[in-house]
Structures are given as structure tokens and as C-alpha cells.
């Protein structure tokens, strides 16, 4: 054991931080204030500021501050599998203490030249994802959802269907109900041996959330790199994580940038999302996150910065015409789909996908026209009929079919409602996949 440095003269206490005079403290090291975990966030001469994760309630100017000499770390080993842990990496499932190599969280960046290009399809069976926004291993992508949408259910659904060796859940500000939902889902599916959960519920102090993503990613890196496994990381809800960052920045007297968020928000979020990687040895980390929105506002600093970092985003939307939740084809995007569509999937995939979305856009224009009281022409009417079927058969999140079947369904819809020249697809594909006998309504 190293010599413990104990101080008892705190000069300044805010709701989240305290400042004291101490010798030899290091930026980033862990400390305990009154026994509560804290981390050094500023050292100026012998003036040291620590953030107290649980908040400073009950801290007095004479409270005891002990410096640990080392930054936050996680004990990594195969024993992590099946465990439920808190933000400090301590068990909350009543199980034994973790054992293994003590690894500092927030590890170094992977050298970009040592990364491989993510190009392995990650199929989910949901056509709104696999057809329009195909995912690959090593990708990072969030769901953008309003608080009233069933984002955690969809997230769990995707996790259960996607092929992964380990699923690591980082829950930040999770409601207790949702925590239990995840736990039940994993238990029922019989996959407890391949999950690790780092949980901060809304009952826990908000600042403890700050550790969750790094803990989650450190565990993910262990399985993906040391064990060469395919790891799927789920982070929900990143908006609540960012809110916690804003609290600390505020107490540090930092000048806020847009939406009261710290100026470093982009870098803070990027350091987490960039942990997603495809290694040449086959191991990978795929991150699927949730960013909740305020009434669909994506210009807010949190979704905005997220969008610039992640490789696309998936929008959930309630489609009133069919009464189901769909993956919005316009605003959703998977940047890495180009690496697999038409290459790992059927060659007509890119063109069919684009044609369907373009015609769906025409349908939305027709809908606006109708809402504004204008007469619809024959093309508009066909578009509207098409849109309903497209939404029901392909966009709804409850669809669960293989990709080839999605493409066949797409062709069927095109032939039912449109003429060849209206779909704008390359001639060679039309010749191959357009079967005249299936053309029913087209005039």
C-alpha cells in the first residue's frame, strides 16, 4: 500500500466540487472526500479542486480528503461476464468483488493506421435499419428519440437480434423500471453469460454517470482486443451524460457555449464514441447509443455534436397512418452502409433503397399538398398508397425478415405502384428484377 495523503482543510465547496490546499496531487487522480469518491479536475500550485461524484451534501470545511494516487480504473477479466456494476465498477448484484488486471479507464486511442475498415454486416432483421440504414460491426450510431418513444425497447430488441459475443450496457440516469426491463430481457433471453452492465439509475447521483461510458468502453476494449470478440456496446441515455458534464463545467465557472453545454462537449463525446473500432484480428466494438431529444430538436448541442461524431443516426417516428413506430427514412442515416450494401448484400440493394426513399419523399409532398387542400393528381395518389404499404411492410420496427426478402418486397412495391421510368433505377437491374406479371395497378 502506498502512503495515503490526508488533508482536512477545504477552502471552497460548491454543489459538485471542493477546493483545498494539498501537495503533490495529480490531475485526474481519484480521491475520497468524507469517504465519498471524487476526482481531481484542476491543480493550480497547491490549490486542488476535486469533483465529488455523489454531490457535496454533508461535506464540511473540515472533512477528510484522501488522495489515492491513481486515476479511476476497472478490474478486467472474463469474470466481468454476467455482472451488474455501478459507475465505479463495483458490484450491485450482490455478487463477489471483481478480480483481474486493474486497467485505467479512458485508455489511449487506437492508432488509425492499425484500424481495419468496418465492413462486416450487422443484421438486425429490422428493414428500417438493414435495408435503409445498414449497420456494420465497428460502427457507432445513436437512436435519436423523443422521451415518449420506446427507445430502450428498440435498443434491447436490436441487441438481442444482432450477432455479438458480448453485450455491454452502460445505463446513465436509467429509470429503475427500464433497468429492470433490460435485466429481465437479458435473463429471459438466457444471455446473462454474455452481458456486462454498468448501471447508474436516476436514483443515483448524476455525476456518477460521468464514469459509466468510460467503464463500459474499458470493459469492451478488454473483450474486443484481449479476447478478440465481437462486442456490442449499448449506451443509454447520452443526453443525461452530457447534462452531468454541464453541471461540472458550470461549477468550475467555465464559460458555457451553445445550450449551456461546455465548449469541450464535442471532444468529450468523441472520446467515448471513437472507442468503436474494427481490429484486424477480428475483434470489434460497435456502439449503439440513445440520445433523447427535446421535441425532436436536433439542433440542440447534444444531438448536434453527436451527429457530427457518430456514423449516422436512427430516428424513431410514430407513423399515424399505420399506427406504428417506424425508422424515419429521411432523417436516419448509416454512413458505413456503403461498405456493405451491394457488396455484402445483393447488388440491387443501393438502387432499390434509394428509389423507395425518393418515392416516399414524393408521397410526403403529396401529403402536404392534400393537407393544404389541393387536388391530388393520379401520380400523387399512387404515391400515397405506396407510402402506407412501404411504411407497414418495411419501415415499422416490428418487421423481422432477412435482407433479400426486404429487397424483394421493395421491388414488389415499386412494380405495384409505379412505372419503370418513374423509379429511376439502372436498366440492368430493371431487366433482372422487374417482373411484368407482378405489375398490378400500374397504368
Amino acid at each position: 500500500m502506498r502512503f495515503k495523503r490526508i488533508y482536512t482543510k477545504i477552502s471552497n465547496i460548491t454543489k459538485a466540487t471542493c477546493t483545498l490546499k494539498a501537495e503533490g496531487a495529480r490531475y485526474g487522480e481519484l480521491a475520497r472526500v468524507n469517504g465519498m469518491p471524487a476526482q481531481v479536475i484542476s491543480v493550480l500550485g497547491d490549490n486542488v479542486t476535486v469533483q465529488v461524484f455523489s454531490g457535496t451534501e454533508g461535506v464540511s470545511s473540515h472533512s477528510e480528503v484522501i488522495f489515492s494516487g491513481s486515476p479511476p480504473s476497472l478490474k478486467v477479466s472474463d469474470l466481468l461476464a454476467g455482472r451488474f456494476l455501478n459507475g465505479y465498477g463495483e458490484p450491485i448484484d450482490g455478487g463477489p468483488e471483481l478480480r483481474g488486471e486493474d486497467r485505467v479507464i479512458k485508455g489511449n486511442a487506437v492508432n488509425p493506421v492499425k484500424r481495419s475498415q468496418p465492413s462486416t454486416l450487422l443484421a438486425t432483421g429490422i428493414a428500417g435499419i438493414d435495408l435503409n440504414n445498414t449497420l456494420v460491426t465497428g460502427q457507432k450510431i445513436p437512436f435519436f428519440a423523443n422521451p415518449d418513444q420506446p427507445y430502450n425497447q428498440v435498443l434491447a430488441e436490436v441487441a438481442m437480434r444482432a450477432e455479438a459475443d458480448k453485450i455491454i450496457l452502460g445505463g446513465m440516469g436509467l429509470s429503475n423500471d427500464d433497468y429492470l426491463f433490460f435485466k429481465n430481457t437479458f435473463t429471459k433471453a438466457g444471455v446473462l453469460n454474455k452481458i456486462v452492465c454498468f448501471i447508474n439509475t436516476s436514483e443515483n447521483p448524476p455525476l456518477e454517470r460521468l464514469l459509466i461510458p468510460d467503464m463500459t468502453c474499458t470493459a469492451a476494449e478488454y473483450f474486443a482486443n484481449d479476447q478478440k470478440q465481437k462486442v456490442l456496446v449499448l449506451l443509454t441515455d447520452m443526453t443525461l451524460y452530457a447534462d452531468a458534464l454541464a453541471i461540472v463545467a458550470n461549477k468550475m465557472d467555465q464559460i458555457p457555449s451553445k445550450d449551456s453545454m461546455p465548449g469541450s462537449l464535442y471532444s468529450d463525446l468523441a472520446s467515448i464514441y471513437e472507442k468503436s473500432v474494427q481490429f484486424a484480428h477480428g475483434g470489434s466494438i460497435t456502439i449503439i447509443a440513445v440520445t433523447t431529444l427535446n421535441e425532436g430538436d436536433i439542433t440542440h448541442a447534444i444531438p448536434d455534436n453527436t451527429g457530427y461524431i457518430t456514423e449516422g443516426q436512427l430516428f424513431l417516428k410514430q407513423d399515424a397512418d399505420i399506427g406504428k413506430v417506424i425508422i424515419d427514412p429521411f432523417r436516419s442515416l448509416s454512413r458505413l452502409k456503403q461498405n456493405v450494401i451491394g457488396k455484402k448484400t445483393r447488388e440491387d440493394h443501393p438502387q432499390v433503397m434509394n428509389a423507395l426513399v425518393r418515392l416516399y419523399a414524393d408521397a410526403m409532398d403529396a401529403k402536404t399538398k392534400k393537407e393544404n387542400g389541393f387536388d391530388l393528381n393520379e401520380y400523387d395518389k399512387r404515391c400515397l398508397d405506396f407510402a402506407k404499404e412501404y411504411s407497414r411492410k418495411l419501415l415499422a420496427v416490428d418487421v423481422n425478415i432477412p435482407i433479400d426478402q426486404m429487397l424483394d418486397t421493395g421491388w414488389q412495391l415499386l412494380q405495384t405502384y409505379f412505372k419503370k421510368f418513374e423509379v429511376g433505377i439502372k436498366e440492368e437491374f430493371i431487366e433482372q428484377y422487374w417482373h411484368e406479371e407482378q405489375t398490378i395497378n400500374a397504368l
Binding site: 493550480l44 465548449g263 464535442y266 448536434d304
Partner: protein
């Protein structure tokens, strides 16, 4: 060497008590247990020095020793830069060991063990100035000039020059003597501080010649000139990166410098994977042979973001001094601005708009001004063309980085969310975007001879056609399809035709991704011919049906290799459809 000791740490801002004189922007090295961490001095108050650390600060102890190097951040210039993958401080990433980048790891930017075949270009006794060519070596397929070091001021006489042969970069290639008789040994390598422009040229003139990018919406409608500047702002998901990579792959530049500044690591991985496989359309060599990539991805140290764009620009200027056409792309300059903001914030400076430092506009203007078309001392021409992307917060162009950039960049490629949503790629807004080069008389004159007489006037006419089309569309959507004259539909559909056949381009299709200027000229003339045609339709639904057919044929033409049998087949179809329409119009009139 001056020294100091660490007195404080807030994230990557380090406070140092210095013993002795310290220079602004000087590089200092902070001692940790077994490493030296690099930092740049950014503020001096008496003996108190603030420095931005190019690493994470977790291991720094109070009282650690600091060495001040007396030098600013420099790059090493010499053969071997091409095909390299550097980090933001010009460390060669390929030479690093391990999967992860260990803190404080440095690697040499050039290869000291590679022989280059040297051919002298001058003789002993000649008088020279900084930047003059001493000789030439082959770097991949490029004639890499070995120059009189840029730092030398005044006139120099060549004492001796090495004979033709194979040499290492650190061998002495020439000995020069100054006016005072001082002898200087010149190797293939020289150093230059990145924040200073290399300005050993005779003059910088207004850009006048189109730099072909292969993208129709740029080359035809909003051309960028050799030595010009452009910027691409756009909300996320509008295709900034795809667009920039398309420009990189197809542009007719001799040298390509790509700076990935605070962006996704997988994007540079894509470049690493694809460029060695792609053929440069101009030379037939692989694309990575003329490319250098500088990557400071978003999880790499924030302070090195600023360095990365300056390193890129300095390398570009270096190749310009060899009489080459250099294109530098930086994605994204907003991340660099944010890095400046983070630091300014930690230093508790009074902020400007959106908490950015007040000097942001000046910093950006200065940087863009380093691009340009230059005449070298020996009469050769070299150019640096710069295109930067901007990531405006919330997709709102009324924010400091976009606004500051708009004042200096001459081409504006606005990416529109609406177009991206409708999958109309590239999502460049045809009306909001502009190229100021279209108004340069020297540029107009140049296109008159290099493309065709009256080209620019025709381009402007096309833009009017698009503008009229959009106005017609607004009228139609306000008043309804049948409440407006059928003519409005014709105007609207003519603009849709331009949109689908000219502006939209499939970056993922082998043929459509790159359109030669010759082909662009051909198709543009064809489109304008249709744009000029008079039509007579009895009702509005006929208009859409006719134009959808035309658009479909035009798209099939775009997907077919130029002048191939397929292309000709579709071309015939087009002529037939147009002929039918002409006859129909005649009979009905």
C-alpha cells in the same frame, strides 16, 4: 536551454514557472517518469507560462521539470512525405509500435534509410536565393525539388553541387556560401515553422484557371480555380465527407494533402484502405502515391488539431514551391476552431460570439490566405488550392466559424438538409452556392479558350433557369397544380431536369462519380438546348410525364461510359423523344 517547472494542470492546459526568457509559441518538453511530453507556449505573464499540451495530462506531477526548446512547432520537409500517414504533429503513424498510441510516442516523419536518385539542376558558381531549385529527386513519380532552405535570407553562391546519383536524405547535396563567406551545407531535408507561410515565390496572382474536380455541380456551375479557396458548410448527414472524398479522388491536382481534423477515425481508415487501390484518373498511378494524410481524429489530443491544419498547409506550400498543383482538403475547420475555443476558455479569456476566441475571424482569414497561385523565381507556376469543410452548430450558417470563413473563401458549397433528406446528392444547394471566380474577367477569358466561347454566360443562364424553376415550384405549391399556367410547370420541370441530370451525381457509381470536363461540356450544352426549347402542353400532367422520361434517359446516359454504345443508344432515345415533342408542338401550334 531554458527550463521551468510545472505549477498547475487543468486538463491539457499546463502552468509553468519559467527560469529565464521564454518565447510565445515556443515548444517545451515536460518531463514525466520516462517520457517527454510536447507542449506549446500560448501565454506568458512574467515568469508564469501557460502551455497547451499535445497529450493527455494524467501523468504530470507538480514540480516536473520543463525544457524550453527555443524553437516553434516545425515540420521536416524533404522527399518521402508523399504516401505518409502523419498525426497532427507530423509523427509517422505507420512507424509507431502497438495497436494503441502510447503517450509521448514520437516517430521520424521522413525515412533516413531510403536512397533517392538525385539529379542536379544547377552548377557551381551560380547565385541563388531561398526556394531556388538545386536538384531533383524522384519521389514516387513526382519530381521532388531539393531547394535552397527557405530560412536562408539574401544571396548565396553555389560552392559545390553533388553529382547525379543515389543518396540518403541527410547526405550533403550542395554547399552554399553567403555574402559574408559563411559556408552552408544543404541536405535534402529542411525545417520550417508551420505557423509561418512559405513565401519564396516572385508573385501571387489572381486564380484564372479551372481546377477540375469531376463533380458537375462544382466544375460546371460553381468552379473552383487552381490556387483558389472554397468551403463546404453543412449540417451533419448532408454528405460533407463523401463530397470531400469525391473531390479528392477525382480532382486533377498533382499533390493531394488531406487533413482529418477532429473527425471520425473510420473516415481516415477508408482513405487508407481505398487510396492505394484507386487509380488517379490523370496519371494512371495509384492515388496514394500523390497523397499525404494528416490525421488528428476526434479521439486524438485536442491541442494537436490546430497543429494538424498548419502542418498540412505547410506541406502544401512546400510542394507548391516545386512548381506543382497542390490541393489541400481539411475536414473540418470547425473542430480546429473548437480546439481554440476550449483553450481560450481554460485560459479564462473574455469570449467572443458563441464563446469562440475574439481573434477567430483573423485566424481563419490568415489561414485561407496561404492558398494561392504563385509564380516562382524561375518563372514556373505552382498553386495551393484549399477547400475546408465547416460543421456549423445546429446546421445554422449564422455562427462564427461559417461567417468568418464566408468572408475569405471564394467558393461556397452550401449543403442543404432538404436536399439530403430527399437523397438528392451531392446535396449542394444550387442557388445558395456560388463561385466568385465566375466573375473574374481572367477566369472568363480562360474558359472562353479552354472550354468554349461564352461558357460563363451560359452557366449564369443555367443558374437563372434553376432559380426560375424554384420560383415556379413555389407558385405551384401555393396556388395548386391547375391554378397556374401550364407554362409554370414547364419552367419547373426544366429546372428539375438540370437538378437530376447535372447537379445530382452518384459518388458510388464507377462511371457517374467522375465526369470529365469534356463530357460535362457536352451534356451541359445538351441540357441547355432542351432548356431553350419551346414546349406546348395542353395540361400540366403531360409536362411531368414528358420530363420524367427525359430525365430517366439522361440518367441512363450519366451511368454509361462517355461515347460508349450504351451512351449512344440512350442518346438516340433522347433525340427521338425530343423530335417527337418538337413535331407535336409544331402540329398543335
Amino acid at each position: 536551454m531554458n527550463t521551468g517547472k510545472v505549477t498547475g494542470v487543468i486538463s491539457n492546459l499546463i502552468f509553468i514557472e519559467a527560469h529565464g526568457a521564454v518565447t510565445q509559441n515556443e515548444i517545451c518538453l515536460i518531463h514525466t517518469e520516462n517520457k517527454r511530453l510536447m507542449a506549446e507556449v500560448i501565454r506568458i505573464t512574467g515568469t508564469q507560462v501557460s502551455a497547451q499540451l499535445f497529450e493527455t495530462s494524467m501523468t504530470i506531477k507538480m514540480g516536473s521539470l520543463v525544457d524550453f526548446t527555443g524553437r516553434m512547432l516545425e515540420v521536416e520537409l524533404g522527399p518521402g512525405i508523399l504516401s505518409k500517414k502523419y498525426d497532427g504533429l507530423q509523427n509517422d503513424l505507420t512507424k509507431m509500435s502497438g495497436l494503441f498510441i502510447d503517450m509521448g510516442q514520437t516517430t521520424p516523419p521522413l525515412d533516413s534509410d531510403v536512397y533517392y536518385s538525385f539529379t542536379p539542376l544547377i552548377k557551381a558558381g551560380e547565385t541563388l536565393h531561398a526556394g531556388d531549385w538545386l536538384g531533383s529527386v524522384k519521389e514516387n513519380w513526382i519530381d521532388h525539388k531539393i531547394m535552397v532552405p527557405f530560412v536562408l535570407k539574401g544571396t548565396y553562391t553555389v560552392e559545390s553541387i553533388t553529382k547525379k546519383g543515389d543518396y540518403l536524405i541527410n547526405d550533403v547535396m550542395a554547399v552554399l556560401s553567403s555574402e559574408k563567406g559563411e559556408k552552408i551545407e544543404v541536405t535534402m531535408v529542411q525545417k520550417w515553422p508551420v505557423k509561418r507561410a512559405i513565401s519564396t515565390f516572385r508573385q501571387k496572382i489572381r486564380p484564372n484557371k479551372i481546377l477540375q474536380t469531376g463533380l458537375r455541380v462544382i466544375d460546371t456551375l460553381n468552379p473552383i480555380a487552381e490556387g483558389g479557396t472554397g468551403y463546404i458548410p453543412g449540417p451533419f448527414g448532408t454528405g460533407k465527407t463523401v463530397l470531400q472524398q469525391a473531390i479528392a479522388k477525382n480532382s486533377k491536382a498533382d499533390i493531394l494533402i488531406m487533413v482529418a481534423c477532429g473527425e471520425r477515425a473510420n473516415e481516415v481508415v477508408e482513405i487508407f484502405t481505398e487510396f492505394p487501390k484507386l487509380t488517379d484518373p490523370d496519371t494512371g498511378r495509384t492515388l496514394d502515391e500523390k497523397t499525404t494524410i494528416i490525421c488528428n481524429t476526434s479521439n486524438m489530443p485536442v491541442a494537436a488539431r490546430e497543429a494538424s491544419v498548419y502542418v498540412g498547409m505547410t506541406l502544401a506550400e512546400y510542394y507548391r514551391a516545386m512548381g506543382l498543383k497542390v490541393l489541400i482538403l481539411a475536414d473540418s475547420t470547425s473542430r480546429w476552431a473548437q480546439a481554440l475555443r476550449e483553450m481560450s476558455n481554460r485560459m479564462e479569456e473574455l469570449p467572443g460570439p458563441d464563446a469562440f476566441p475574439v481573434e477567430l475571424p483573423a485566424t481563419i482569414a490568415n489561414f485561407y490566405s496561404r492558398a494561392g497561385l504563385t509564380e516562382l523565381n524561375n518563372g514556373a507556376w505552382g498553386s495551393v488550392t484549399f477547400i475546408g469543410t465547416v460543421s456549423p452548430a445546429g446546421g445554422n450558417f449564422k455562427e462564427p466559424v461559417t461567417e468568418s470563413t464566408s468572408k475569405v473563401a471564394r467558393c461556397f458549397y452550401a449543403l442543404s438538409q432538404k436536399r439530403a433528406d430527399a437523397k438528392r446528392y451531392p446535396a449542394i444547394d444550387p442557388i445558395a452556392s456560388y463561385s466568385k471566380y465566375l466573375d473574374y474577367p481572367e477566369f472568363v477569358e480562360n474558359t472562353d479558350t479552354s472550354i468554349q466561347k461564352g461558357w460563363v454566360a451560359k452557366v449564369k443562364k443555367c443558374k437563372d433557369l434553376i432559380r426560375n424553376g424554384l420560383e415556379a415550384r413555389d407558385q405551384i405549391s401555393i396556388l395548386g397544380d391547375d391554378a397556374v399556367p401550364v407554362e409554370y410547370h414547364v419552367v419547373f420541370w426544366k429546372s428539375e431536369m438540370i437538378d437530376f441530370a447535372l447537379i445530382q451525381q452518384d459518388s458510388f457509381d464507377d462511371v457517374d462519380m467522375n465526369t470529365s470536363l469534356e463530357r460535362q461540356q457536352y451534356m451541359f450544352n445538351k441540357l441547355m438546348e432542351i432548356g431553350d426549347m419551346e414546349f406546348h402542353f395542353s395540361e400540366f400532367e403531360e409536362v411531368g410525364t414528358f420530363f420524367k422520361q427525359i430525365i430517366n434517359i439522361l440518367k441512363q446516359m450519366n451511368y454509361s461510359p462517355f461515347d460508349s454504345s450504351q451512351f449512344k443508344k440512350h442518346h438516340k432515345e433522347l433525340e427521338k423523344a425530343l423530335q417527337n415533342m418538337r413535331e407535336k408542338t409544331l402540329t398543335e401550334l
